[in-house]
Symmetry: C2
Subunit: 297 residues, 2 copies
């Protein structure tokens, strides 16, 4: 019944040039076969100046990963490191304070559990952080469909945030291999947080975005501590994973320290976007009334 | 408590150049104020050749809509009209047949209700069609976080499909203003379909993608009928909505017929992607094992 076959080997290797470099020869023909009937070939991308887009990473273990991720040039970016890391939203209303103390309360067990293992801590943080953008984006998408109206770009902004956080997670997975019980913890926390945030966003998007704003403030703090440990030499400043070099357009000589710097800058941008979104709700407006900061990295 | 104020008027109008054209003067200052503290300004985009990206639409009613949607150049595209519209997946397994007849059964009441009102029919179709991509993308995102592994680009592909369908919906909303009971029907159907598809995707992604594949085949058929009615003169070939001209890079003189043509081509691409995804599952593989057709329009 199926119109493709993974097993059989194709003959025209030339047609698959686009997917190079491919680590294993066998995979090449298989991919050729899958694309054959439905005609969904991998695409070739060009840079802003018209030249072909090339991958920086050629480490065998990552080639397949990044290549099948197929980061398009415009999906990668140079992080804006000049962003103000100190901005803070003073909690004023009851809801603000609730959001603030929820985040502070969540930090306590995290501090106890991970202590100074900032690599694993970052991993945990990123699994949780990738949830709000996806949930918010999905809920706005459904709302947009129900009301037949546009979202002012906020769907895209929130989904982009989720993608950005997922890239953070992929990056730290390369750096810190988690133990089984840490993995189990992360899965549990994600499941609980996903449902809680889903409900929270339906009840009060104002509160939900404010909470994420504070979560990002904590993330900035956490990465600053990470940097301190790196500078003290307590954590080894290993070379940056290839995936990070591609995603943030880092030089090939980049190290873990450079990665933490760009990730921290990302978190500062998320902080701005989410406090901004909450502020819009505080004004009794809907998100779509203010243009979304698409491409704000 | 809030750090922005919508009410007060800002003084430096010059800083808001990027959001031009803005329909109402008052809005300009308000937007300035919102962006002020969190520093999330709207961005300026350039085309592939380096010149500034301009909007084609200047109809007052749409200016705010498209501008606040902020389609980036690479979010718009020229549809590939050469795609084969006749491709069909012959249902072979029991699951295939179930998917096929589910879609056929769903078509019956739609035929009865909308009959030859293809504008409203398209609207209904698009509200439903925008659900699977979002649900699938979200579930793959969560899976990616849980397993700490990449998705081979499938998250992006499915979310892009959802966005594409939402743009279809926005376009047809401009063409066919729905009556209140049609709106109510659409909301009900969406609510039921969202939950059903969510469950369906968890139980069997193989079935879910196959069903969407058949849904798209029906969509192609439906738009072909739409074109026939347009050619017969039963439906007036009005000028294309500005949003469609921007999104599909159509000439300013484009008509509804041109829009239906590009939308139909989109559906054919969705058909390929979803049958392809189902085929991968039929081979006992996971989606991430085959590179996703990102940017396949
Ligand atoms: Fe992050
Ligand atoms: Fe973040
Ligand atoms: Fe569609
Ligand atoms: Fe479609």
């Amino acid at each position: 019944g199926s119109t493709v076959s993974f097993g059989e080997k194709g003959q025209q290797k030339t047609e698959m040039k686009q997917t190079q470099p491919v680590a294993e020869g066998g995979d090449k023909e298989e991919k050729k076969e899958i694309a054959s009937y439905w005609g969904v070939p991998p695409s070739r991308f060009t840079k802003e100046d018209g030249t072909e887009w090339k991958w920086n990473c050629f480490r065998i273990d990552l080639v397949l990963m990044v290549c099948s991720m197929k980061l398009k040039p415009w999906e990668t970016y140079s992080a804006d490191l000049s962003i103000d890391l100190k901005k803070h939203h003073l909690p004023a209303t009851f809801l603000d304070k609730m959001a603030y103390w929820t985040v502070k309360a969540l930090r306590l067990p995290t501090d106890l559990f991970f202590q100074r293992r900032y690599g694993c801590r970052a991993m945990m943080l990123e699994t949780v952080a990738a949830v709000p953008g996806m949930v918010g984006g999905m809920l706005l998408h459904c709302k947009s469909l129900r009301r037949f109206e546009q979202s002012g770009g906020w769907i895209k902004t929130l989904l982009d945030e989720a993608e950005n956080e997922r890239m953070h997670l992929m990056t730290f997975m390369e750096v810190a291999k988690p133990k089984w019980y840490e993995r189990a913890l992360v899965i549990t926390v994600q499941g609980v947080f996903l449902n809680a945030y889903f409900l929270g966003y339906i009840i009060s998007p104002k509160f939900a975005h404010r909470m994420v704003g504070y979560l990002e403030e904590e993330a900035i703090h956490s990465y600053t501590e990470f940097l301190k440990e790196l500078d003290k030499g307590n954590i080894e400043n290993v070379p940056a994973p290839s995936i990070a070099i591609d995603y943030w357009r880092l030089p090939p000589t980049a190290t873990l320290r450079d990665v933490v710097l760009v990730v921290r800058a990302d978190e500062a941008h998320h902080r701005d976007v989410n406090h901004f979104a909450s502020d819009i709700h505080y004004q009794g407006r809907e998100l779509k009334e203010a243009p979304a900061p698409i491409g704000y990295h």
